[in-house]
């Protein structure tokens, strides 16, 4: 990141370094929210068990969304839960990140054809890292957390740029064909 001879905007030495430091701190102190939904939640718990021990990377669960940084959506999100999930996401303090764990959270997985399942949690909250698998191994979750770590560390201060709700979030709120009242 040279100051000279670069096409990029010259980088502020002091504030840039501070940014880096804070992002480094954020990326190395990600506290997930205790929010288990389905099968993946058991593997999510297993990620903190002695065999994998994600606590080695400074992550431990906080029960309250205010103090959590990462929401791990570990399971199928149906339309009844979606409102709650969005609310939990809104309750989390900035900056915040979402990991979509498992097929169901990614796109509904094997249940995506069902009448009550939301096809992907990214319709409700913006997702940073996706993990395939049904359920993913604990190692896969740890890999995703480390991917997220790298994503955070490369960025500028997040709270300056609040996330945007996905464009099709509103589209989902229109009534369905058969008189079902969508719940979002």
């Amino acid at each position: 990141m040279g100051l000279l001879g670069s096409d990029e905007r010259p980088r502020d030495v002091i504030l840039g370094t501070l940014d880096d430091l804070i992002n480094m701190a954020r990326s190395r102190s990600m506290w997930p929210l205790t929010f288990g939904i389905a099968c993946c939640a058991i593997e999510m718990m297993a990620t903190w068990d002695p065999k994998i021990d994600a606590d080695r990377f400074g992550m431990f669960f906080r029960n309250t969304p205010r103090q959590a940084d990462v929401m791990i959506v570990s399971g199928t999100v149906n339309k009844k839960l979606a409102k709650r999930l969005r609310r939990l996401y809104d309750q989390m303090a900035e900056p915040k990140w979402v990991i979509s764990m498992g097929a169901c959270a990614n796109q509904g997985g094997p249940f995506r054809q069902g009448y009550s399942v939301v096809e992907g949690v990214d319709k409700i909250v913006p997702v940073d890292v996706y993990i395939p698998g049904c359920p993913p191994r604990p190692e896969a979750l740890l890999q995703a957390l480390l991917l997220l770590r790298d994503k955070i560390a490369d960025r500028e201060l997040r709270y300056k740029k609040p996330r945007e709700i996905p464009a099709d979030y509103e589209i989902m709120a229109e009534p369905g064909k058969d008189g079902r009242i969508p719940v979002l």
Partner: protein
């Protein structure tokens, strides 16, 4: 089978890892803890010996100079409590890791040594949120009240002979007054959050306080009766021959239990009760406000074991190896003894945290009112009687 190398050129998948396997390095962990303890010790020496010596040399040890000296000492103590919290959180996580057959934080910094610094920085930069239903002023005030109340206990803690900010002869009364205040912070925070879980947590904190404060005060009284003084330095001095935990065994046990309750520590962590009240009184706090609650909790986790040491384990007493009492070297050694004795008690508290489940809140109250208060009264009478006979 696991040695099959994964090819490097996976075009679309982000790659992460090119590190060598890491192993647990116990000597490194010990070095990290020792470094923290050393910094802590240095800060203690600077606060209690360095600053007065400096001001004395400059001739500013009276009038406004004295006030400045005390202010500087308080600033240093604040630094010291920050170091303490960083250390204790790290130790807690590493110790929990150890007893749970895993490793605590270990990949950031030497043996995970700067993990808590990252945590603190992150909390510093995190959004500090005030809920719409909250009473803003009280909500903002509560963490400060909690922290200041815990921090104020430092004033009367003697780290070595003469190494105390205010060697007042009403030290015990001050302690009772100040330690109660920290519960007010919890109460205010819980009630002002506008959250039902926080409210329940706050109510539990209040209920808990009225149950443990009375036996705690009775134990203070017992110690005062036995030592014949209300000053903490005097209490330590009175234990020169015999540490109090032997003659005052019953009050000592009661004091440990009451300390656990005052700390809101497992098995009595009802106001926080992670699995019941989500996070209890601090459920709505985020960012720095939460960090202050955290800080207060861990400062108390040092101070209450420190008080156990002061009251029952001879405070700073220990072999001086011929050093002249009152000298800087002797003071340093004494403060080290004090710190190490406290560390043992902190470890015991952490050990309890790692083992025990949580009681129900009414069980503590029942226990406090039906067992601890009569026993504390009995201990008081017994101590007074023994004092009459023996001294």
């Amino acid at each position: 089978m696991s040695q099959i190398p994964i090819p490097e050129d996976r075009h679309f998948r982000p790659r992460l890892f090119g590190y060598d396997p890491q192993k647990s390095r116990p000597w490194l962990e010990r070095a990290v803890y020792s470094a923290y303890v050393f910094v802590f010790w240095l800060l203690v020496i600077t606060t209690y010996a360095g600053v007065p010596a400096l001001f004395g040399a400059l001739g500013w040890d009276s009038g406004w100079g004295f006030v400045f000296m005390r202010a500087l000492q308080v600033v240093l103590l604040f630094l010291l409590s920050a170091v303490l919290a960083l250390l204790l959180i790290l130790v807690l996580r590493k110790y929990l890791g150890k007893v749970q057959e895993r490793f605590g934080p270990m990949h950031y910094g030497p043996a995970g040594g700067i993990q808590t610094i990252f945590d603190a920085l992150k909390l510093l930069a995190k959004e500090d949120f005030v809920p719409a239903a909250a009473d803003v002023l009280t909500f903002r005030l509560a963490p400060a009240v909690t922290f200041v109340a815990s921090f104020a206990m430092f004033a009367v803690i003697p780290f070595a002979s003469g190494w105390v900010l205010a060697d007042t002869n009403v030290g015990l009364v001050y302690l009772i007054a100040v330690s109660t205040l920290s519960t007010y912070g919890v109460l205010l925070g819980g009630v002002s959050s506008g959250n039902k879980w926080a409210l329940i947590g706050a109510l539990r904190a209040g209920a808990q306080m009225v149950s443990y404060e009375i036996p705690l005060a009775l134990v203070f009284l017992t110690v005062a009766v036995w030592s014949g003084t209300l000053s903490l330095s005097g209490i330590v001095d009175a234990q020169l021959g015999l540490w109090n935990f032997l003659p005052l065994a019953l009050p000592f046990v009661l004091y440990v239990i009451a300390s656990l309750a005052e700390l809101k520590h497992i098995p009595f962590d009802f106001p926080e009760a992670e699995s019941e009240l989500i996070a209890g009184y601090n459920v709505e706090y985020s960012g720095m406000s939460f960090a202050f609650f955290f800080l207060a909790e861990f400062v108390e986790l040092f101070l209450l074991p420190a008080l156990i040491v002061v009251f029952f384990f001879g405070g700073w007493h220990g072999p001086l190896f011929g050093l002249e009492p009152g000298s800087l070297a002797a003071g340093a050694l004494e403060s080290l003894y004090f710190t190490l004795k406290t560390a043992v008690w902190v470890w015991i508290f952490l050990w309890i945290r790692a083992t025990l489940p949580r009681y129900r809140d009414d069980q503590l109250m029942e226990f406090a009112w039906k067992a601890m208060i009569p026993l504390a009264l009995f201990g008081l009478v017994l101590a007074a009687y023994m004092r009459l006979i023996w001294r």
